[in-house]
Symmetry: C5
Subunit: 354 residues, 5 copies
């Protein structure tokens, strides 16, 4: 029911820098490459198996090459012959535990991001690496698995909704990254729900499972935080005036995106504080409960242990115990005991234990 | 009695950037648009239903258009034909969970802020988004609900108090933002009162409800803090020399406002520390109380359990227990028991338990 | 005996910016204005009721106008006719919950500071706002109440001690601010004494009052910290090369002052850490004490509860209990009980409970 | 089984700066110096005993001098005659507790790093200092002990894999540092495994050993953190444009390395948070366990102590106790006792103790 | 055995800035002034009573004037006639609770540092203020007490070891500061030993004294930290290119010193974390111990309290208790009791209490 935190290896330790080697989980499905070309008038979509130079490099059209699956380095190599990039770029594309980053290689921009998805069944946040290579009118995207994150953008392209087809590849990249960041809000909502649920639980009936849940929540937020922080640098670099590949109009959109990433970070930090508060709350609740238990124990003991002693005294078998012979001794002792009990109860009342 | 923290969705996930879609709570009341035009001599006030170009764009008058309610995108669209702004601006106006920010679009400034109000009945801090679009002599403000925050400023305009009517739209914006920040102090006072109240409670009689209250207070401060931090950037941008829309005289006022926001932040941080100290205090108080309870239990047990044992010994039914026959055995045993009890009490005295 | 933290309102919410309104406690004593004029040869001192333009604005003399009490806005207004300042400056002078700050208005400098005083009787740190307006050879100071902070400086002026009379108004301002910062060290000494006292208490006999004391100490340090932080910015601005009103010779002194404020901040931070350590120490001490109590309870119970059981067994009234008839049964049972007790004690010894 | 943290002395206190004195553990093995010279065509490898000026300073070849062992200052001195460096550089090479750093001496670069290795047997992280001196086409490396960290790079050089032989000494240095940073990931994996293991332990059966383990893990992460932080400055200095010794092509690689060090830091910080969460979890688990224990104690006591009292009452030996004579008294009392027990159990049910 | 933290007064509050007044502990020993003059050929050493202008200001020789003891302001005044410095400098020299700092007065540099010494007997870290005034070829040092910190440097000067005599007064200052920083490592070693010792104690037998020790250690580290932080600024200012008094060759040495101070800071921070971890560990250990105690108490109580009840039942004196008459009742009841005890033990086993 609960996930384990997992830290996978960055790369085959000891390999030469620049080696092409996929480090994610092996998938049997074949790598699928899809190509969408469009401008404000035309639109063409389809899967491709070979990279047709002419088709892709048409200056009048924006090309979007999406590669689903990274385990077939052959495909990557073929692509590299048409779009030659620095060997470290391809290494970063395949080493799927990259820290999100943006690098400007003058002729192209390279962006690595994390995509998060909440797996409702396993109650786990799954992460996937998405890479972007942006040329003046071509965008190449790499996904580990076929996902439906980009379907909304595809639909807009098909139906020419918004102004997306009128603009260039940089706006396409913005639209895709925006779709990713939008998904972060979904994750945050899931976390918010969890926090609220756990809060109710802590107030109503804190137990061992609650503790486990708070712990896992904390862990998730710690791991999420680690992935969200570098995002700020990425979007900040994209909206500031440092590359020609992003035109000034698109910059406005990236600035908006930057605001959203800042907000995501703020929320993650806030959730972190809230979870810490929850843990404190849990500990205090347990202490409170212990206090309640101790009060009961102490009240019972404080009333009955002395009484038992008095009963014990008159249970002694001494020959010469004159009280035992008295006619009213028994009711007197009983009244004495009742008096002790009542005095104790008044004491507890004054101590605010009742 | 206690509020839940609520995190609403930023926008319809998957929508194209720039879509006009109000994300706040739906309100049935119609959107109300009011227009105030003034200069040092003239003053005109009224609700409007259509945007009359001439009336608004009179260069000799300052125009203040206030839009109460954001759920009718028609109104927003109409306004946009006269004051065309970047699509992301209108999106931000309608997506009411924006992080406070200020953006300079050369021809106009765009400012988003949070307004806080303490709902005494529900003991909840309510927040509302307020947006400002500032043109050279026109100010457009957007509120989610009709509120009375701006009534003070309106009154000053009507009665020509202060120099407000002698100055331009930038000073009007300052006066409105100042009214908002003033409200923050009211919220802070409420929090201060709560802290003092809870402190008294923690000292006098800490219980489960106290804990809950401290927890909610902490949560409120965490959420408030998240909204107050970005405010500093907004006012800082407004007082520094980067836009022509704010004249140098008004800058002095914004610098003052900036000082106030810094102070608000300082106070929020201080309250955060105070609440943490309160939580610690609560935990220590509970520990202290537990200690008191344990002392009572231990004293009672330590005195009576050994005594009960001795009583038990002389309650045994052995045939040959010579002590039982002795005449003075009973008073001797009783004295022995009293001695034990006294020794114990002296021991407790020395342990400082009494 | 203990003070409450108090957060007073910044200003009458909703008033127009620039309104002159004193927000401190109303004092019945009349506002007292004193004027000192001096140069290296001449010295004149006296209370004034009207501001004589000629007397004050004598270029050959340094004038120090000290205003004791802020509740009479008439006086402030009169002063303003001779020394016209920005309306926000006077607002800040009267709103006595300002954050310490320094503002350069070219013709004059405006400085707001907090003065602290330890009220030994009430065990409270009292704070008072002091404002300075510095003109080329005139210094105006505003105090809430008549205090004796500045008496030392006045004495030096009278007796021409040091080089104070040979220098200009900027050095006078330095000397006064230095007197204020000196007072901070007195407060810090009080706090240091409190910390040492509480430490002894925590080690010797931690109790409920100790906890309360630590809590209040913590609160005091949190509040003090909030006031001391902005001081650094003020002195830093004064010693750096940005205004003509402070001559380069005086800058050396302000640099020294800056070092002192940094040190005050360091000490406050250190005290904060020490108080946190004290709170931790308290909690640990309480835990330790509880452990001691539990040990006693457990030892007593573990020895006597089993013994009582055995006594109980031989107190049963079964007809056929052959042991009861035996002659040596009683001493044997007693020895058995003693053995159990000794075994228990050895066990406790090995557990290091004794 | 557990390691102790150890802080060795920086240098012989009181020695003159610049003294050559090895501060690591004395090793008896002789210092081994190996020389590899190569270009894209040629490759030569071998151990050397004397430094042959001509062989080393061949401008057409890249020379890599690796010194294994620092305890023989003679070797260092000999080397210094051919490659004269600042006396502080050699001091830093020999004082093996340097903070990682990079210094640019115009003619050569000096880099000090820490190499980490997990000693599986002793469960200890061992650290070793590695120093680099980079000349235009010569790289000198210093290791404390003969290790196999650099074997991978040597192999690549031998087999001319990748482009390593086509490039200069700066790329060689990059490849070696990359090998070191790769090893950090191995350490991090070991720590991740430990964290997961401890987490399972805390959930299943937290005990004293678990606590010790968490404590040591925390200590390891604190010590690791201290070594990893300065690494960022080193790689940052290497990839930024400040020295001619690293060519612009190699800079891309150092930028990649910089990203990796940032990631290592992120992971270390994350582990720190996770370990803190683990400690909190442990404490909460112990509290929970205590609660369980207290519940059992309280339930047993609360049921049986009152019952024992009633049994005690009817065990008293008063002459006149009319109930004792009644025929049904005994079963009635037993039923009464059972009722009390059942009431108690219902109470516990309602308190959610069962 | 344990020291108290002590905060001495900065200066006589209220005195005029620039007053010469020693604020350290009064010492009866007379102030000793020693003069060393040297260049690569000559060396002269001796105590002086009067400042001979010619002897000191010889341009061909480096002069080092060391003043041991600050309580005789006469000496300071005499020195000031030959080396006139800013009055604040002398004030800072005498006020021995200065924050470490470096100030550049063009003609001379002024440096204040803290020297730490571990007093093994009293287990206290003693601190002493050392001030340096550096002229082009003269260095004046001020110590509070005669110490042997500088003996190593003196010895090197005498024997002309290293290149110290070939270089100027700035290198001498470096050598002296280096000697001071070296001493910090000694203090750190003492602290490291204490941490290791306390760790063993916490694991083996945590008690009240352990807690006190951890508390004092924490306090020491907090106080040390306060003194070490400003050191970084001092050495950073010395190695960066801002004064002509330190030549570029010596800068390399100050850069090395800067690295050492950064390392000292890193270690202090690390020790802080380790001590915090120790405190947490202590608290957890105490909780663990309490758990153990509670287990014992609960086991004993849970086994014997119900058994005592059953014994009590058969100790009742009812006339009609048929079981009492049965022949095998007694052994049956005993077996029943044994069964209960065994069931309890199995329960404890399953709860992992045994």
């Amino acid at each position: 029911m609960y996930k384990k935190l997992k830290i996978t290896r960055k790369k085959k330790i000891g390999s030469i820098p620049g080696t092409l080697l996929y480090t994610g989980e092996k998938v049997s499905a074949p790598v699928k490459v899809s190509l969408i070309t469009y401008n404000s008038k035309d639109f063409d979509e389809g899967d491709i198996t070979s990279f047709d130079h002419k088709k892709i490099n048409n200056k009048d059209l924006v090309s979007w090459i999406n590669i689903n699956g990274l385990h077939d380095t052959e495909v990557i190599n073929k692509l590299n012959t048409i779009f030659p990039v620095h060997p470290l770029v391809l290494e970063d594309v395949l080493h799927v535990n990259q820290r999100p980053k943006m690098e400007d290689f003058k002729e192209y921009l390279f962006v690595v991001l994390k995509m998060f998805q909440y797996d409702v069944e396993k109650e786990v946040i799954k992460s996937e690496q998405v890479s972007f290579i942006l040329y003046p009118n071509t965008l190449i995207t790499f996904q580990e698995e076929a996902g439906n994150f980009f379907d909304g953008v595809r639909e807009h392209l098909r139906r020419d909704k918004g102004k997306i087809r009128a603009l260039n590849a940089d706006y396409l990249m913005y639209a895709l990254i925006d779709a990713i960041v939008d998904n972060y809000y979904l994750i945050l909502e899931q976390l918010a729900e969890k926090i609220e649920l756990l809060e109710t639980e802590v107030f109503a009936n804190p137990n061992k499972i609650t503790l486990k849940r708070i712990h896992y929540l904390k862990q998730e937020i710690i791991m999420l935080r680690k992935s969200v922080w570098p995002l700020r640098d990425v979007t900040s670099l994209l909206y500031k005036d440092e590359t020609d590949l992003v035109c000034s109009d698109t910059r406005f959109f990236f600035r908006d995106l930057y605001d959203h990433t800042i907000e995501v970070m703020d929320i993650v930090e806030t959730y972190r504080d809230l979870t810490s508060a929850l843990m404190e709350m849990y500990l205090s609740s347990i202490s409170n409960k212990m206090n309640e238990i101790m009060k009961v124990l102490t009240m019972i003991s404080t009333i009955f242990i002395p009484l038992s002693f008095f009963a014990g005294v008159y249970g002694m078998n001494f020959k010469h115990m004159p009280e035992l012979e008295l006619v009213h001794a028994y009711p007197l002792v009983l009244s004495f005991m009742a008096t002790i009990a009542i005095v104790m109860l008044i004491f507890f009342k004054r101590m605010k234990w009742l």
